[in-house]
Structure formats: structure tokens, C-alpha cells
Subunit: 352 residues, 2 copies
């Protein structure tokens, strides 16, 4: 019996060769769609998932009257390879399971998604690609891998190349998780609970801004459309355990899966797309989409500066900073105000 | 044989009762002095240590022609209780050793230092108290505990009350360290190396700013007056291992000591001084010293906002922001430019 509600479909990637030369044998891409593809196949939106997220964690940005309106668009949410639904350490049979699951790049993620989009539906144009965090990384990758296909792109709270500081932040998360001997270099039978909790506590300092804590916003976060819950925590400790440790300990998440995605994130760089020879600037210059990047004002690991740097090299690029104290989680779907900001930009972008 | 060079002296604190009611039996306060106390005992400067630091880590701010000139001032560097030189988990005999060492507040730290200053030398006035990070916390505490004694105060890269975000950052460091089963709840015989390395990696993301990494300043940090070395690392990984893991693995540091100081830091709040009943604002209002707080522009855990908030309540308080990308480590003594900024402010303050 699966630990997942089976509200999604699975595309067969077959023998899926990765950028490294490693192969995911019998690769699977789990996805969910909203709305209908129109007759000329011109209304598809790709909206990839984020670190530790599943397709349902993206649904908050989809709805009647919203930019991503299923009455207008055919919205595809592909689950990242490594997230536990698509091919991942936790669901791949031996010998490529767990610590032996191959490393997947953003380029590989988009190749898998492109296969789905073109082979399953014969789609050749995308009015929009958008996503949060690692979803933003995949958005950039789409715009570089398929410049003639992507008309518009809206990466929010992410970057085209993972900065060194961001890499170091992730080193901390990884070190905390793997400090637990129960992790057994990935060959655990029971989850390394202590390490997962430690990773969650490390993450907790980074996800939101200093000002979020100063204002004690966790005491009255408001309605999370992502979780379908009103979030309000009586104390800091309750917030740390429920929101953070609970997230990492959710049995649908897995330590090796989390480390697989973490690797993808750490080595994110559109300059590593074949043909660009590591030249990130050249890759940015090749983007043809109209691209609006939405960093959050106080994001601690994807600071606005990264996006401002990238934008100057994108011919039709623009940056708008999401204001407020939510930091990276401005784009999580937990923040009522930031949801509106992002939705408004997507509406404007789609109307252009 | 001691693992420390014995270039310091030790003051006997006797039966030293802490704010909690716990007692450090036969308490020791290790300190080092520079310069001579003048005849009227009016030239003493107290300059406490920081998290994981020892007295020699403070010496970079002392020198001929500098603000803290031993030709003019009698400079006392007291080692924090818990740092491994003063009474600490690692050097206290059973039964109060290791995981049983009592918890020490900033108030307790200053009580111990006040005992030294008054009983050893009969000093009743202090032209200046200054310190970095937790040293800044002790500086604030001095100004609140002994308002009539402290004439001037210059806390740099610290705060009067540890913010909740700062607390959460430290939760991450602590969780990483204690995720290592070798820590054995503090009853290890051999150091929990994996946990110490993990804690170091977590810390590495916080110590310097995002921009420090963006600019790859670690490749050419320049001369560290603190370490007496030119710091330049060929790669990010080399920097992480040498500067961070090396710091935490230094045999003079100890996991329980690090956790003891971490607790002091997490619960820092001058409002907890007896008589103020948890009212931090009232405690700030009671400060009589001329106080210039020096937060660093891009400090990730003591952001300038915290000091700006505090300053509005200090009758003779002022904030000046240390510019640049070094983040918290602007005040470490590793940064040649920031050293000059701090020294200049101290000169101005001492001249007033």
C-alpha cells in the first residue's frame, strides 16, 4: 500500500539517461494536471515542485479567478525527480535505491518534464513556466533548455545559479541530518529521526526572516492555502516542532530523498546546460521568454541581489521584490498577503 | 599538563552563587590584563570574551596607538564562565562537571567580573566596557548591572536581548552538535567529532553575509590581526574545513563548554537583571553610560534593527552601522577594514 493518496498520474520515462551518464532505469515522473488542454495545445503551464514539496503543495496558486485558472489553462505540476513520488532514492528498486540513486541536475529535471509535455500531449509551446524556490530553478532551466518553447517565465524566490552562500546553508542542513549515526550513510531501515529533527531546526532559522520572528508572526500566520489550515502557534517551540520538525518527519518524506533534492539544489546552475560550457551569463542571455523574477525582500538564502544580478543579463528580464517579512516562505503558499502579490504578477504577465 | 598556554591569571570566585540558585563551588575566573592601573584607579577597561573565544582572541583590538592603548588604559579581559578557561563544564570536578555544570546568565557573568574588578583592584569606575557578540551582551549587562560604574559602553555586533530569530539560529547549531550519538548527552569521553563538524558547518552559513560569499572574500580575507595570519582560501571547501571545522575541533574547545555558552547566549536579556522583572525596556532606560552600539550592516543574527530598537530606549544611546559584507565577523578581529572602523569609534568615545 502506498503512503501517498493516488491523486496523480505517472509518466514512464523509460531508460532515462542523466547528464552525468548515469541512468534511471524505468524512470517514473509523477504529475498532476488541472484544466483541459485546448485544441491547438497552446494553453499549457508548467509549474514544478520545490525542495521537499509534492504536487499538492503547489495547488494553492491554482484556482477559479486566479492567474492559474483551470478554466483557461492546462496546468501541469511535475514532481521533481527525488521527491519521493517521481523516481527517487526511496522508491527505486535495488541496486539503484537509497544511497545509490544517481545525482540529478536541474537540466535532467527539465529533460524529464519536457519528455512528458511533448510525448504525452504533443505540446510545443508554453505560455508560462513558474515555480517557487527549486521550482524557480526549474523555471530558469526551462527558459534556457527550451528558449523557443517558453513564452513567459516567473521564477519566485529562487535563482538561476545556486549562490555559494546558499550552498553553505545547505551544507549545514546536510551536516545536521547526516550527523545522526542512524542515517548509516543512507542505508537506514528506520528513519534517522534525530538527524531529521536537527535538519529541521537548522532550516527553521533560514526559512523566514529575522523580522518574522521579531514580529512573532508565527503566533498569527493566518490561513495557509497550501495546508488548508489556519496557522497560529502559541509559542516559538510549538512552531519549531509542528511546522519544522513535523514537516521533516512526515513519513512521506525520506532522508535520502531530501539529500537527493539537496544535491540538485546545491549544484543548480543554468550555465551547466549543454552548450554553455559553465557560462551562466551566456545562458541567461539566451533566454527568450519574458521573465519576471520575484525574490522576497528578506529571503535569507535567495536574496534579491542574486536575481538582480541575473536579470541584467536576461534580454526581456525584470525583477520585482515581494515586500514583507516572510522571507523565503513568501512563496510557500502559507502567506495570504504574498499569495496575492504573486498571483497579481502572474495575471499581468499572462495578459502581456 | 594544561592544554592552554598559561599567559593568564586566575581569580578565585569562591562559592559563587548563580542567578538560578545553583552554585559554582570554588569558581575560577581566568583573565588577562594589559597596561597598568593608574593611581586613582580610573583607567580600567573591561573587554569580555565572545562565544567560543578566549582572552587571546580579543587582543587584536589592543595596541600602541590604538583606542585600547596599554600605555593609557588598564585593560582587563575576563574569560566567560563556560569558555574552558574560567569555570566550565570541561574543567569543573565532579559532580558539577560536564552535563551537570550549572547554567550561567549574562548577569552571572558580570557579577563574577565585578567581583574581580572590585575585590582584586578596588576599581569603582570604568571609563569603558566593550566587546564583540556575546562580549557585547556582557557590555550591555555591565551598563545595566552597574550604571554608576560604567561611563562608556561600546557593544559591537551584539544585543541587549537575544532575539527569537537568533535563538532559533542557535537551536540549529545545538541540534547539529547533539545529533551525534557520540555526544552521549554530554557524557562523552572522546569528543563528538561528527557533531562538532556539523555544528561548524551550520555556523558557517551564519557568520558572514551572503555578499561575503558572492564576492568570494574568503579567497582573500587579508591579514587577521586576531589569528596573526594572512587568511586566503583557494576554495569554499577549504575555507569551510579550515576556518569553521578547525575552529570547532580545536582541542581547547569542548562540546559541553560550547553548549554552556550557547545557553547563556540564547537566554540573554538585560530585562532579567534583578529589579527589572523581565522588562527589557526599563533596563535599557536605566543605562547611564554613553553607549554607542555598532551592529554590522549585514549581520545575519544580530541585525542592525535589533540595536536600533534598543537604542531608542537608552538615554545616551546611539547606533552606528559598520558597513560592508563581513556580517557578524566584522567584529571578530579577522577583518582589517572593520578593525579600523571599530577602533576609530572607540577613540572618539573615549575622547568624549
Amino acid at each position: 500500500m502506498s503512503k501517498f493518496v493516488e491523486d496523480y498520474e505517472v509518466f514512464d520515462l523509460g531508460e532515462f539517461e542523466l547528464q552525468s551518464g548515469a541512468v534511471i532505469h524505468g524512470g517514473k515522473l509523477a504529475y498532476k494536471t488541472f484544466g483541459e488542454l485546448d485544441a491547438d495545445k497552446s494553453n499549457a503551464v508548467v509549474y514544478p515542485t520545490w525542495y521537499s514539496g509534492f504536487h499538492w503543495d503547489n495547488e494553492w496558486l491554482i484556482g477559479d479567478g486566479m492567474a492559474l485558472d483551470p478554466a483557461k489553462y492546462f496546468i501541469v505540476i511535475p514532481n521533481m525527480l527525488g521527491n519521493g513520488l517521481s523516481s527517487s532514492p526511496s522508491n527505486t528498486p535495488p541496486p539503484f535505491d537509497r544511497a545509490r540513486f544517481p545525482r540529478v541536475t536541474f537540466y535532467d529535471q527539465v529533460e524529464a518534464q519536457h519528455k512528458l509535455i511533448t510525448e504525452q500531449w504533443g505540446i510545443e509551446t508554453l505560455p508560462l513556466v513558474t515555480g517557487w524556490s527549486m521550482g524557480a530553478g526549474q523555471t530558469y532551466q526551462w527558459a534556457v533548455s527550451y528558449p523557443d518553447m517558453v513564452q513567459r517565465a516567473c521564477p519566485f524566490c529562487g535563482s538561476s545559479k545556486t549562490s555559494e552562500h546558499n550552498f553553505v546553508f545547505l551544507e549545514g542542513v546536510k551536516a545536521a541530518l547526516t550527523a545522526d549515526a542512524a542515517f548509516k550513510q543512507g542505508w537506514y531501515d528506520a528513519p534517522p529521526v534525530r538527524g531529521l529533527r536537527a535538519a529541521a531546526r537548522v532550516y527553521a532559522g533560514w526559512g523566514f526572516s529575522q523580522a518574522f520572528f521579531w514580529d512573532q508572526v508565527y503566533k498569527r500566520m493566518g490561513h495557509s492555502r497550501r495546508l488548508g489550515l489556519d496557522l497560529a502557534f502559541p509559542s516559538l517551540e510549538d512552531y519549531l516542532v509542528w511546522f519544522w520538525e513535523g514537516h521533516f518527519l512526515d513519513p512521506r518524506r525520506d532522508a535520502n530523498d531530501l539529500l537527493s533534492m539537496l544535491w540538485t539544489w546545491q549544484y543548480g546552475d543554468i550555465g551547466q546546460t549543454p552548450g554553455f560550457d559553465g557560462d551562466t551569463v551566456k545562458a541567461l542571455q539566451s533566454i527568450k521568454a519574458r521573465l519576471i523574477a520575484l525574490p522576497a525582500e528578506k529571503d535569507l538564502y535567495f536574496p534579491p541581489e542574486d536575481e538582480q544580478w541575473a536579470s541584467q543579463h536576461i534580454p526581456n528580464g525584470e525583477v520585482r521584490v515581494i515586500p514583507g517579512v516572510w522571507g523565503h516562505f513568501a512563496g510557500s503558499g502559507d502567506s495570504p498577503v504574498d499569495l496575492e502579490y504573486i498571483d497579481d504578477v502572474l495575471k499581468e504577465l499572462l495578459a502581456s
